[in-house]
Amino acid sequence: MKLTNFSLSIKGKCLLENVNVDFKSKTINHILGKNGTGKTCLAKALVGAMKFDGDIEGVNKKVCVIGSYTNLPSDLKVKDIIDVTKRKFNVTVAQKLIEQLNIQEISFDNKMKNLSDGQKQKIKLLFFLATQPEIVVLDEFTNALDKKSCFDIYSFLNEYIKTSNTTIINITHNLTDIEYLEGAYYLIENKNILSNMTKEKVVNAYIKG
């Protein structure tokens, strides 16, 4: 995925201006940025839910975003989600994801609203990844998760990126993500997305502001 002359504004406020950046394919691309720098707006623009100027190469690809604004209905049971996932998408892929995410450990009779945050995120991963997207945008995905759930998900994503043809864009301000998920690093600063950064450099720049 590549952004060319990409600009993004919301209610007259310019968030990103004339950005040119190329995300590495089949890699976890971490984008760090402070609150209000336009991270979530960027994620929404990538799936076509927000207007932008410029070009997004790859926007025609199968893109899915997993964040706090892409949820599964809370009144459905886990078994309902699994059922619809298997019916609508590839059964083999869905079954593999169920095993990789250890979803068997969750009671299938539970409603989504009764699950822990970590369990909800796992079910969301199952549903959205079963669509076999080419690009996955994770927006503040590990926020509010306990350590065990975070590590389960890190371990899954590290394995997933090796075995799938997917490019992941992880928009975050959780430095633990950077520590445990290998990939490429980007920083949103001064209405731009800085690329070609090392892990240390991006963390330092983020912390020191």
Binding site: K44, S68, T70, N71, L72, D75, L76, V84, R87, K111
Partner: protein
């Protein structure tokens, strides 16, 4: 089919069908209570009961049903479930139609229960289809109008008061001229309601009433087409409200 089945599952899981049926039964109860307490009717006949229950549907329907219909859309917007539907291949219109389909099934169940409660105590089983068709005609109208408002507005209070405002405005406009009756077609002040009363008073034949009932469904069909056009015109609001 998978999508409709999923929507029905949601309605079962969140007890929408149960609550909706109970509100219908409450309407029947309210119809009876109003007859006995306000109208002071000693011996409630089938005609009294049908007229009173139908009046409750036409006069209080917006207040009683709108909150529950709007909730079916509001919850999706509030929980940010729209991307889930998009991933399943729903378009804006398909989403609206699936919701309307799910709600209409609830209205059919509710109207059937209400009709049975009105007819069976008086052994008027022959009148069941007429009672059902009249009540369901009103319920289809409510479902279409309120669902469209629920689709457009993500704020529950705005949606609720918009449906309330539309109802009151319709009555005011229809009072201005007989040509404006279509703005409050099912209201007790309009010709359609008087046709039913005329039938219950024995002034017109069943064939005439069935003719008018067919008119009710043609009206609902036109309202449906207008609602579909409104949804298509305002389709961008779907993603804006729910992502």
């Amino acid at each position: 089919m998978v999508r409709m089945k999923l929507e029905m599952k949601r309605a079962v899981r969140n007890k929408f069908y149960v609550i909706f049926t109970l509100i219908n039964l409450l309407n029947v109860l309210l119809g009876y209570i109003l007859l006995v307490t306000i109208d002071k009717v000693q011996n409630v006949t089938f005609q009294d009961m049908f007229e009173s229950v139908y009046t409750v549907y036409t006069q209080f329907g917006t207040l009683l049903f709108s909150a529950f219909i709007i909730m079916q859309f509001y919850v999706d917007y509030k929980e940010k479930n729209i991307f889930f539907y998009k991933t399943l291949g729903f378009s804006e219109l398909r989403y609206y139609l699936t919701k309307v389909g799910m709600i209409l099934l609830a209205t059919i169940i509710g109207s059937a229960f209400s009709s049975i409660l009105v007819c069976v105590p008086y052994a008027k089983l022959g009148m069941l289809p007429v009672v059902f068709l009249k009540i369901e005609g009103v319920m289809i109208y409510y479902t279409l109008i309120i669902s469209t408002i629920g689709f457009i507005f993500s704020n529950f209070l705005v949606a609720f008061f918009s449906s309330f405002f539309l109802w009151i405005a319709g009555i005011v406009v229809s009072a201005g001229s007989p040509f404006m009756e279509y703005f409050a077609y099912y209201d007790a002040s309009t010709t359609d309601y008087h046709h039913l009363i005329s039938y219950l008073d024995g002034k017109i034949e069943i064939t005439s009433l069935l003719h008018y009932i067919a008119g009710n469904y043609v009206y609902d069909l036109i309202v449906f087409l207008i609602c579909v056009m409104a949804v298509l015109c305002l389709r961008r609001r779907w993603a804006k409200n729910g992502i």
